[in-house]
């Protein structure tokens, strides 16, 4: 077990190193002069030169990369070109809204998706099943922001139940905080829910075809107990896997959702950085999100044994 964890940690470090190398090298690999692109169309040669120095583009690649990695390992993600503030500080200021949004969405989505998938599998071939599958295809086809605007127009503009945009700190009270997150969470979580429900259904159908399920049914176990204790637990590995992989959807989706709902989170920071071509911020956000994503999937890997003790590391 320990050996396995260490080996997986090693692999994770390699993956993160590849990510860092890639994100860094992009500055050099992209055709044309990135400093000129970042400076924009109205920049003077002086501006371009300044940005080049700021990004360290005037030094040889290896020197820059080395320095960058050393600073990175000290927790320094660089300095924003536009505001001259450290990227870590800019990101830290924006963590709470993004964390609230994604965590809330994750929990609600899992709580909704797994039962839906189980029911669909239990009633395979019926209209219940077909509507779950229909919902999932639809959810895969509607972009997050289109769904977000539909929700706003129904629940905020017509019914006036929920605020149109904005964010309240958790410290401002539970309801103000929650009410600003309900619509963003639904918009963000729909694809994620569809994905998990679909895999849950597929995994359950696989398990339900097994002999021990027939045995459990034959010995007169309550159908509910068969579904949850016998089937769902054994379908756990693919479900938890897709919950981990799907976090990528949450991360990408959060960027758009925060834009639509004017939530001052990391996604909004990213979009502002794109408009100003503030590459250090984008670099920092990618490293952070990729790191979280890799870490979550590492935890998912390590959790397999909880569901299936037969798995030996």
């Amino acid at each position: 077990m320990i050996v396995y964890i260490l080996r997986r940690l090693g692999a994770t470090l390699i993956v993160m190193a590849v990510v860092a190398l890639f994100v860094f090298s992009l500055l050099f690999l992209t055709p044309g002069d990135p400093a000129a692109v970042i400076a924009g169309d109205v920049a003077t040669p002086d501006d371009i030169q300044q940005i080049r120095e700021k990004l360290g583009l005037n030094k040889p690649f290896l020197v820059q990369f080395g320095g960058w990695v050393v600073r990175l390992l000290h927790g320094d993600l660089g300095t924003s070109i536009f505001t001259n503030l450290p990227v870590t500080k800019l990101i830290a200021q924006r963590v709470q809204p993004t964390l609230s949004l994604t965590l809330l969405t994750l929990f609600v989505a899992v709580l909704v998706a797994v039962p839906i998938g189980v029911i669909a599998a239990a009633k395979a071939g019926t209209w219940t099943d077909r509507s779950v599958m229909g919902f999932s295809v639809l959810a895969f086809s509607i972009p997050v922001f289109v769904l977000a605007y539909v929700l706003i127009s129904i629940f905020s503009i017509h019914l006036e139940w929920l605020p149109v945009q904005g964010y309240r700190q958790f410290g401002d009270g539970l309801w103000p905080w929650l009410s600003h997150l309900i619509l963003p969470s639904i918009a963000l979580g729909t694809v994620y829910t569809a994905l998990i429900a679909r895999i849950t259904r597929a995994a359950m159908l696989d398990v339900l075809a097994q002999d021990y399920i027939r045995t459990a049914n034959a010995k007169g176990l309550a159908p509910r107990a068969v579904l949850t204790r016998h089937a769902l637990k054994n379908a756990g590995v693919p479900i938890i896997t897709v919950i981990g992989i799907g976090v990528a959807l949450l991360i990408s989706g959060a960027i758009v959702t925060e834009t639509v709902f004017a939530i001052p989170g990391i996604g909004r920071l990213t979009v502002d950085a794109i408009l100003r071509r503030d590459y250090p911020i984008i670099q920092g956000v990618i490293l952070l999100f990729s790191g979280i994503y890799v870490l979550i999937n590492l935890l998912v890997d390590l959790s397999y044994r909880l569901f299936d003790p037969r798995i030996r590391y």
Binding site: P34, P143, F145, R201, A248, V271, I286
Partner: protein, 292 residues
């Protein structure tokens, strides 16, 4: 002996037969195909569908609601939204098809080689793992932040994010195919590697890649719209669906139709591609059909 002609009629390939049968069993796939064909026609015939110049400004007529003259209304610069949406289909289609074709071609090449050349495998797969751990939209954002906005660059950015998934798929196919007796036989017979790949491996990757390609196409269209929506996609002067919606962002409470028309077109197109993909997957992989 000269008359020993086999009485078996020229058989239709079983894959093809299964394909047709499954399509019959999946009316949704047919619907998807029809909607998709309609969208392709719309994209091709855009100039003849009662459109005007999608870029023509008319400040006097800005933000008009849908009417007989402007079917989908006009935007904040007085441009005809119907024309913009119809022409926008060209961008989405181009991006979707180009990304699917490019990422399949590149992923196939890398996957085939790494599946057979073992020492390359470890290195390439670590790189692919790294690329895959960057959420694809973020990867595209990084590229778009460093290059000039253009449709071509959007295609490259999304392709780069999709390639690792194709490599993974091809590699896993190759790893299982190379254990097949007919491949071992070919190896034993001294067939050289390129010929084995071409004759024995490649044909068996076509079906899964076709399915994967439709999904890539669907997700590329969504990613393009998403990138354009946050200002990291096609340049603002290109009437893509994402751009139309991006420009309407601040205008939503005033003119929701600016978001709904392109939004519905985009969702319908992606839905059609997804339905077609699901139908093809069921047709080509009967084992999966029951489950997914």
């Amino acid at each position: 002996m000269a008359t020993a002609v086999l009485a078996v009629p020229r058989s239709v390939s079983p894959t093809w037969q299964r394909f047709r049968e499954a399509l019959r069993r999946h009316p949704t796939a047919i619907v998807g195909a029809l909607v998709l064909m309609a969208m392709v026609l719309i994209a091709v015939l855009a100039p003849w569908l009662g459109t005007t110049d999608p870029l023509a400004l008319s400040p006097v007529e800005r933000l008009r609601s849908p009417s007989g003259e402007h079917w989908f209304g006009t935007d904040m610069l007085g441009r005809d939204v119907y024309s913009r949406v119809i022409y926008g289909s060209r961008i989405s289609m181009t991006v979707g098809v180009a990304v699917a074709a490019l990422s399949i071609a590149i992923g196939l090449a890398i996957g085939l080689v790494t599946g057979f050349v073992r020492w390359l495998d470890a290195v390439v797969m670590r790189v692919m793992d790294g690329l895959m751990s960057i959420p694809s939209v973020l990867l595209a954002i990084a590229l778009m932040a460093l290059t000039k906005a253009s449709v071509g660059n959007v295609i490259v950015a999304i392709t780069l994010a999709e390639v690792p998934r194709v490599v993974r798929l091809v590699r896993s196919l190759v790893l299982s195919l190379r254990e097949q007796p007919y491949v071992e036989a070919a190896v034993a017979a001294g067939t050289n590697l390129p010929l084995i790949l071409l004759r024995h491996i490649l044909p068996n990757t076509v079906a899964p890649l076709l399915v994967q390609g439709t999904y890539i196409c669907a997700s590329a269209m969504i990613t393009e719209a998403l990138l354009s929506f946050i200002g990291a996609g096609t340049p603002p002067n290109v009437p893509s669906w994402g751009n139309i919606m991006a420009e309407a962002r601040s205008m939503f409470q005033l003119a929701a139709y600016l978001i709904y028309f392109p939004g519905v077109f985009l969702s319908l197109t992606v839905l059609a591609v997804n339905l077609l993909g699901d139908g093809m997957r069921d047709a080509l992989d009967p084992r999966l059909a029951r489950r997914m």
